[in-house]
C-alpha cells in the first residue's frame, strides 16, 4: 500500500523502510521535474514538511526531503538527484512556504539552486560568503549513495523501480560485506578532531 499521494507519480524508486532501523516508513527517489507536483499532492493529503537538506554524494548532488503526517505518522524520505555541475532543483516554497528557509539554508551549505524560490538570498551564512559552501565535499571524499543508504535488509521491499535505475541496488550480502558492516571501532585511541574549535559562544 503505497501512500496515496505518491501513487500517481512515476517515482524512480520507492521502497518500504523499517522504521526501527532507519526512522522512515518510505524511501523514494523523485525525478527533478516531478518535485513540485509531488509536494502539492503531499500537502493536499495533509503531510507536513519536516526539512530539506543536501547530501553531497559521489553520484551527484542530492536534495533530501522529509515529510510526515500529524495524524497518521509515517515518515517519507524523498531524494532528488542533480549533476554536480548543475545542482538545480525546482523550489517548493510556493506550496510549502516553510520550504523557503530550508532551501536557502541548503543553498548556503551546498550551493544548490532552487529555481523560483521567492527570496533566494543567504539565510544562515553571511552574504559575503555567498560562494563558499562548507558542506560540499572534495571529489575524493565523496561517498557513494550505495554506501550511504546501505544496511542489512535494505531495499528488500522495493515497490517501484524505473528501468535503468540502479543507484540504490544493494549487492547480495557476502560474508566479507557482513564483516565490513559491523560497527568497527577505530584503531587509534586519539581522534584527530579533538582540537576542533568549539564554534564560539552560546548565548
Amino acid at each position: 500500500m503505497i501512500p496515496a499521494p505518491l501513487a500517481s507519480f512515476d517515482l524512480l524508486y520507492l521502497a518500504r523502510e523499517d522504521h526501527a532501523r532507519t526512522g522512515s516508513a518510505w524511501l523514494g527517489v523523485m525525478a527533478l521535474q516531478d518535485i513540485p507536483a509531488i509536494a502539492k499532492a503531499l500537502l493536499a493529503a495533509g503531510y507536513h514538511l519536516e526539512d530539506i537538506s543536501g547530501l553531497d554524494a559521489a553520484e551527484g548532488a542530492v536534495a533530501a526531503y522529509h515529510f510526515d503526517h500529524f495524524t497518521t505518522p509515517g515518515r517519507i524520505t524523498l531524494l532528488a538527484l542533480a549533476p554536480h555541475d548543475a545542482p538545480v532543483f525546482p523550489s517548493i516554497a510556493a506550496i510549502y512556504q516553510g520550504a523557503e528557509w530550508h532551501e536557502r539554508e541548503t543553498r548556503d551549505f551546498f550551493g544548490y539552486v532552487f529555481t523560483d524560490n521567492p527570496n533566494f538570498i543567504p539565510l544562515l551564512l553571511p552574504d559575503d560568503m555567498a560562494d563558499i559552501h562548507p558542506l560540499k565535499k572534495p571529489e575524493a571524499a565523496r561517498a557513494s549513495l550505495l554506501t550511504l543508504f546501505a544496511g542489512e535488509g535494505r531495499g528488500s521491499e522495493v515497490q517501484r523501480k524505473a528501468e535503468g535505475f540502479t543507484l540504490l541496488d544493494q549487492p547480495a550480502p557476502t560474508a566479507a560485506d557482513d564483516a565490513k558492516a559491523a560497527p568497527a571501532e577505530a584503531k587509534q585511541p586519539e581522534a584527530k578532531a579533538d582540537d576542533q574549535p568549539d564554534g564560539g559562544k552560546d548565548a
Binding site: 532507519t22 526539512d51 516553510g98 544562515l124 550511504l148 544496511g151 577505530a186
Partner: protein, 387 residues
C-alpha cells in the same frame, strides 16, 4: 577567489534587499539583533504603515555556529557535547536525538534503568524550558514579577539535573547506549518532594497570571494559525497542539520507553497565543505525571550496556532519522555514515526554525505590540534556530 554574488551593494545587504519591495509611504524599521523581545540575537525587518505591519522578514545567522559541519569532523562521542549547545533550554532532548540517531544506525540497545533516567532528565528539562518561556513571555508583555517565581522553581530542577549530569545548562548527559552515570540516592527524594511542590506552584502560576484581564486582552485571538498553516510551515510542538492537532512525537513515533507511560497530549483549538500558552502550562502537569510514574517504576541495574560503544567508535555505513519531542516541537537528527571515522553528514532539524518561519505570515497586518506577543508565543531559542 570568485566575486561574491550577493555583496556587490554598499551598506547592509538585508536592509537593501528588503527595501526593494516596499510600498510608498511606509517606513522600514529594523528590530534587533539586540532587541530584548527577540531573546538572543534575532533580527527582524519590518515595513510599517503607521503602527501596522505591512511586511516582516526575520534575518537569521547571528548565532550560527555550523553544528552540522562540526558533526562531520568529530567522532560520534565528541559530538554529544555540541548537543547541549544547540538548544540550551531543552538540551536533554537534543542529547537524546543525537544518541538515538547514532544508536538506531549502530543498532545499540539501551539498558532499562538508563531509559528511565533519560525520561526523567528530559521531562525535568522540559518543565524547566517551559518555566523560562513562561516567565520571559510575561516579561515581554510587560509584567516583571512572574519570571522571579518561575526562576525560583527552575533552580530546584537545575539542582537535580546537576546531580545527574554535573551541568546546569549545557548538558551532555547521554551516552551512546545509555547515560553518563547513575544518580545519587538522594536524587529520588528530591524528585519526590518536587512533584507535589511544582503542582502547587503551577496552580499559583495560573492564579497569578492566566486569568489576568490584561494578559487575556493581549494574547487571546492574536496570531491565529490553523492546521493548514502548520502543514505548510512544518510547525510542531505547542504550535500545532495549540491549533487543534493532537500530535506529539512521544506518541506518534514512540521512542525510549514512552509507550509505557500514561500521559495526555494537551490540545487547544483556538490557534492563538493564548492556546499555545495553555498548551505549555498543561504540559508541565503532564511531565509531572510522567516523572511520578518514572520514579515509581525505575528498576535497578546498569546505566550503560556491558560493552558500550567507544568514544571514537565508527558508525556502520547507512543512514537513520531519529525524532524526539522537545520543548519547542519535533527535533530531528538525520545521520548518514560511510563507515568512516566521523559521520558523513548530519542534518539537525530544529523545531524553532520551522516555527519561526511562520512569523512573516502571522505578523502581516498586526500592530507592532501584537507582533511581540506573537514572537514570544513561538518560544524561540535562537541558538537552535541558527544551529
Amino acid at each position: 577567489m570568485t566575486r561574491p554574488i550577493f555583496s556587490d551593494t554598499k551598506g547592509d545587504f538585508y536592509s537593501i534587499n528588503f527595501e526593494k519591495g516596499a510600498r510608498e509611504n511606509t517606513i522600514i524599521l529594523n528590530m534587533g539583533p539586540q532587541h530584548p523581545s527577540t531573546h538572543g540575537v534575532l533580527r527582524i525587518l519590518l515595513e510599517l504603515d503607521g503602527e501596522y505591519i505591512v511586511r516582516a522578514e526575520p534575518v537569521l545567522g547571528y548565532l550560527h555556529r555550523m553544528h552540522e559541519k562540526m558533526g562531520e569532523v568529530k567522532t560520534v562521542g565528541q559530538y554529544m557535547a555540541n548537543m547541549g549547545r544547540v538548544d540550551y533550554l531543552h538540551a536533554m532532548a537534543w542529547n537524546w536525538a543525537w544518541a538515538g540517531a547514532a544508536e538506531r544506525l549502530a543498532g545499540i540497545e539501551v539498558p532499562e534503568r538508563a531509559e528511565y533516567l533519560r525520561i526523567i532528565a528530559t521531562e525535568l528539562n522540559r518543565i524547566a524550558s517551559h518555566q523560562v518561556w513562561w516567565g520571559a513571555y510575561i516579561l515581554d508583555l510587560g509584567a516583571f514579577t512572574p519570571i522571579l517565581y518561575s526562576f525560583e522553581d527552575r533552580e530546584k530542577i537545575l539542582d537535580m539535573l546537576q546531580m545527574m549530569s554535573g551541568a546546569r545548562l549545557t548538558f551532555s548527559y547521554f551516552r551512546l547506549g545509555g547515560v553518563a552515570n547513575d544518580v545519587p540516592p538522594v536524587f529520588f527524594d528530591r524528585l519526590r518532594e518536587f512533584i507535589p511542590y511544582m503542582r502547587n506552584r503551577l496552580n499559583m502560576y495560573h492564579a497569578l497570571v492566566t486569568g489576568n484581564m490584561i494578559l487575556k486582552q493581549r494574547i487571546e485571538g492574536i496570531g491565529v494559525m490553523d492546521v493548514d498553516a502548520c502543514n505548510r510551515y512544518g510547525a510542531t510542538g505547542p504550535m500545532c497542539r495549540g491549533s487543534g492537532i493532537a500530535h506529539d512525537t512521544r506518541r506518534a513515533e514512540p521512542y525510549g520507553l514512552y509507550d509505557r507511560f500514561d500521559f495526555n497530549i494537551p490540545v487547544y483549538h483556538e490557534g492563538c497565543c493564548m492556546a499555545r500558552y495553555m498548551v505549555r502550562l498543561d504540559e508541565i502537569e503532564e511531565s509531572l505525571k510522567i516523572l511520578e510514574q518514572a520514579v515509581a517504576a525505575i528498576p535497578e541495574g546498569p546505566v550503560l550496556p556491558a560493552k558500550p560503544l567507544k568514544f571514537n567508535a565508527k558508525l556502520p555505513a547507512g543512514e537513520a532519522y531519529y525524532a524526539v519531542e522537545g520543548g519547542r516541537g519535533k527535533i530531528g537528527v538525520w545521520v548518514a555514515s560511510d563507515g568512516g571515522k566521523t559521520p558523513y553528514r548530519i542534518k539537525l532539524r530544529a523545531p524553532g526554525f520551522s516555527n519561526l518561519s511562520i512569523f512573516s505570515e502571522l505578523a502581516e497586518g498586526t500592530l507592532i505590540a501584537d507582533s511581540i506577543a506573537i514572537l514570544g508565543s513561538l518560544d524561540l531559542v535562537i541558538p537552535e534556530v541558527d544551529r
